[in-house]
Every structure is written in C-alpha cells, then in structure tokens.
C-alpha cells in the first residue's frame, strides 16, 4: 500500500533485502542526571527518577532491576522517546533523543500486538513505515525474523490464537524487523510461565548475538537479570535512583539454572534488600 513506486528513480532509497538484513552498528546510550516527576497523581506527585545517570555501551546488554515504583520503566520510556525528562539529557550516539523513532524499538510487557492484523501483518507494520523497501523485500525481511524467532509456520495466524510465549516472540520479531540499533524491553517475560521463559532466555541471547543490538532490559526478577545482562543496574524506589551496578562475568549462552548464576543472583539480591522493601521477586 505504501510502496513508493513513484520514487524509485531516487537512488538513495533503493535498497535490497540483503542490505536491509545487514547487522547495523548498535547504539551507545548516555543518560545524564535525568529527573522525572509525575504531577497530580492520586497520592500527590510521584518522583519517578532522581538524577539518574547511566551509560550503555555499543552492543551491551544492560538489565535494570528494582522494586515497582523505582522508575525503571519510566527511564525506558524516556530512552524510547515516549516520555520527556524534566531535566537532564538522554543521548543516543551523541545526539539528543527528541521523540520515538525506529532506531530504538520497544517490547512491552503485554505484547501490544495489533489484533486487527495477523502475525505477518504485525511484523510488517514497522517495515511499511521504513522508506525504500519494495513489497517483496518487506515480506522477505519479515519472514527472516519470523524464522529467527521460530514462528515461520504461524505467518497467517491471528493474534488471539497464539500462546503468551508466541505473542512475545511475534513482538520480538516485530521489534527486530525494522533493524533498530537499540532494543528496549520492558519486563517482556513477566507474564509468562517459567518454562516458556527459560526457552526465551536462550532465544534472546542467541538473537542478541546474531543481530548485535544494544539492549536495555527492565525486570524485577534478579535471576533473569543475571542470566541476560552483561551488567545489572540496581534501582531504589521513591525516588528512583541508581544504587549499584554488577558486572556479570559469565560465559554465554547462560543457563538460568546454573550454580554460578545463582551465586550472582544471591549477591545482587542481598544488595537489593539493603535498600528496598521486600517487594522483589528473587528468582524462581
């Protein structure tokens, strides 16, 4: 519907599938003393973020952990460009983030898939907004990512026919398809059962390795954070602040049930308990 046929003489937007599927350089994120207050809530103003600074390296997998209300999702939304900070600067590759853009795509807790489109339609949604792709190219790109998340057979399925885990896989394919530099994940596996989650831990590590994205992953599950992150950043609530950082130095792919991982997780948990009320889920 949006194929820019009339513009095909323009050399800049001629693009092939191969080009489209090339691994793009991941972004470097820099968050500098960002504060955010939500005004006029039922319980007065909510001080979601207070002078939060954080650097995320190119292609790094960073997990943000903390109790609910620690502002970690707010920070993710700010990086996505869906919300604006009251003060402070958020930069991607040295440029300030002005609004949402397909360089930084988000995966939400609820899959947020569009029920009026089938699986293929959902994965194509972001691709159709990308200039310079022909219809056939878009289909090929979408198929590549559906294959990557293991859902090739479900191209024509309706969203309500999928299980929770499959929905999140489609959401992952949809987020990956426009080839963003950054993937922002807001508790994407929180609503899934433990078995499905374990599968997805494997998949996300494999895909991260294959597609080289910078990933910021929000969770309240410490073990999940230790399993996925190069670095785990701990937040304290009311107001949201960065308290501590852990570098997880374990070989990949990591198994959520490994003993070494449990060691990391319990250290992180102990630290987290030092500054939060026990609201945090401590592994399974």
């Amino acid at each position: 519907m949006h194929s820019p046929k009339g513009l095909s003489w323009h050399p800049r937007i001629v693009s092939s599938v191969k080009e489209e599927l090339e691994v793009v350089a991941p972004s470097k994120l820099s968050i500098d003393s960002v504060s955010k207050t939500f005004k006029g809530g039922r319980s007065g103003d909510v001080h979601a973020l207070d002078q939060v600074s954080l650097k995320v390296g190119e292609g790094e997998f960073v997990c943000l952990v903390g109790a609910s209300g620690c502002g970690k999702s707010t920070l993710l939304n700010i990086i996505a460009g869906l919300e604006k900070p009251d003060s402070g600067a958020v930069m991607a590759d040295g440029k300030p983030i002005a609004g949402p853009g397909r360089e930084r795509l988000v995966m939400f807790q609820e899959a947020a898939l569009f029920p009026w489109l089938d699986v293929m339609g959902n994965v194509l949604f972001g691709l159709k907004l990308k200039p310079g792709l022909q219809k056939k190219d878009r289909l090929d790109v979408a198929r590549y990512y559906l294959e990557l998340v293991g859902l090739s057979r479900f191209e024509r399925a309706n969203i309500h026919e999928l299980s929770g885990g499959m929905k999140q896989r489609v959401a992952l394919a949809r987020a990956l398809a426009p080839n963003p530099r950054v993937l922002l994940m807001d508790e994407p596996f929180a609503a899934l059962d433990a078995l499905t989650r374990e599968q997805l831990y494997g998949d996300i590590q494999r895909i991260w390795k294959a597609r080289k994205k910078t990933i910021v992953f929000v969770t309240h599950n410490v073990r999940e954070a230790a399993c996925l992150g190069d670095r785990v950043v701990l937040f304290s609530p009311h107001p949201g602040r960065v308290q501590e950082e852990f570098v997880v130095d374990l070989p990949r792919p990591r198994d959520i049930n490994s003993v070494d991982l449990a060691g990391y997780a319990s250290r992180i948990t102990r630290s987290l308990k030092g500054f939060t009320k026990p609201e945090v889920e401590v592994g399974e």
Binding site: A80, G81, L82, P100, G101, R102, R104, L105, V106, F108, E110, A112, F114, P115, W116, L117, D118, F125, G126, L129, K130, N158, I159, H160, E161, R174, P178
Partner: protein, 255 residues
C-alpha cells in the same frame, strides 16, 4: 446444506400453518389472506414492475443516505474523541440527537425539503450519522494506549497513526455503531415512506400504505415480506461477513 434444509423446512412449515389457519376460517379473509393470494400479488407486482421499482427506490434512498451518514459519522467520531472542546460541544450534541428517535426528524425534514428525495435522505442520514459518530468516539476512547505507543516507536504518527492504528483498533465499536445506524435509518425511512407521499418516487413504504388504503391485505403482507427479506439480506451480505472477520481476528464477538 443441512442448515439450508432446516431453514427451508421451518419456513415451509410456517406457510403450511398459515394455510391451515386460513382454511379454518376463524378470521375474515380480508384480515388473513391465503398464502396463495399473497404469492399471486407478489407475482403480479413483480410482473408489472411496481415491486421492483419501489424496492429500487427504497434501497437507493437507504444506501445513499446510509453512506453519507457513515462518511460523515466516522470523522465526526474521530474529531470528538481527539479534541476535548469538540467532545464537550459537538459530542454532547451528537449524544442528544442520537437519543432522539430518528422518526422525529420526519416533520422537520418535510418542512425543510418538501415531499422530495432530499427529505428522505435527510431522515436516513440523521438515523446513521449520530450512531456512527458516537460509536467511533467510544471506539477511539477504548483503544488501549499501548497500541498507540507501540506504533509510535515504529515511526507511526499523525494521519498514519489514526488511519492504521486507532481506526482499525476501534473497529469492533465502529461496526456495532454502523449496525445500529443501519437499524435506525431503515426504520425511520419506512416510517417516512408510510406516512408521507413522496412525489419523486414510490418506495416500499408507500406500497404498504396504498395496500392499507385499498384494504388489500395480500399487498400489505406481501410488501412486509419483501421488507423483511431486504433486512435479512443486508445482514447476511453486509454485516455478517464483517462480524465474522472481527470474530476471527479479535477472537471475540462484536456484540
């Protein structure tokens, strides 16, 4: 096939029952004509073209008015859902006019437009417009904000966001509004045709009215059957496929 057979058997049974009641001579044949006489009327009226002509006139009034109502109602609903000022003003007015039974527009339409097509169209449009507008407004307000956010991160904004995300997301509401608008439009058009002689063409309602004036019960019943069939066909041809699509995609019924 089985469903077709059971439906045929049912309606066949109804006709037999009707014939039996007629044969029992409980009521005067002027009040309860035989199925045969109704069939004869339908056959004759079809043969001389009056039935077809009236059906075409009625359906034309209905379709044109209905389409104008939808084309106006959709943007109306989108606008009132988008801007608070419009919601408080035009939105409130729409709600008020939607509660007004659309037959109530007939006197006003006649005074404004006279006994013309415009009056008929006006009544049909008033039946459709407000229902579609309000359903669209409700639909848009019920779109989960996360769809909008997800779409925005993928680069959707402005018109694209409205046409490709918000409108389709509110489709279940819009369709039920369209169905309600159809019902209102159809009923008020029939009322208008029965009570007002429109000089520019005799619709089915007028045929019904002439049947009463001539005490021709077979004509009254015959035309009523045609009106029922049109309603059924509209449902089966137009709404049923859309509702099936909604059901298949959303996994829920739109009702």
């Amino acid at each position: 096939m089985k469903r077709f057979l059971s439906a045929t058997a049912f309606f066949g049974g109804l006709i037999v029952l009707w014939q039996l009641l007629y044969d029992a001579h409980i009521w005067s044949p002027v009040l309860v004509p035989s199925p045969g006489s109704v069939a004869t009327y339908l056959k004759e009226a079809t043969a001389d073209g009056t039935l077809l002509e009236s059906t075409v006139i009625t359906i034309k009034r209905l379709l044109i008015g209905y389409l104008i109502g939808i084309v106006g109602g959709l943007p109306l609903g989108l606008l009132t859902a988008r801007w608070g000022l419009l919601s408080d003003t035009v939105g409130t007015m729409s709600l008020g006019l939607q509660t007004l039974p659309s037959t109530c527009w007939i006197p006003l339409a006649l005074l404004w437009f006279g006994q013309t097509e415009a009056a008929m169209l006006f009544v049909v449009i008033m039946g459709t417009l407000w229902s579609v507008g309000i359903a669209t407004d409700t639909g848009v307000r019920n779109v989960p904000p996360i769809y909008r956010r997800a779409a925005m991160t993928m680069g959707s904004k402005n018109l694209h966001l409205w046409l490709k995300v918000i409108l389709p997301a509110s489709l279940p509401f819009v369709v039920s509004g369209m169905k309600q608008g159809w019902a209102f439009a159809w009923r008020s058009l029939m009322a208008a045709e029965i009570y007002v002689t429109i000089l520019t063409g005799f619709g089915l309602g007028q045929l019904l009215h002439f049947g009463r004036e001539q005490q021709a019960m077979e004509q009254v019943i015959g035309v009523m059957i045609i009106i029922v069939v049109i309603g059924l066909l509209a449902d089966k041809i137009f709404f049923s496929p859309i509702e099936k699509f909604l059901y298949r995609r959303w996994g829920t019924s739109s009702q």
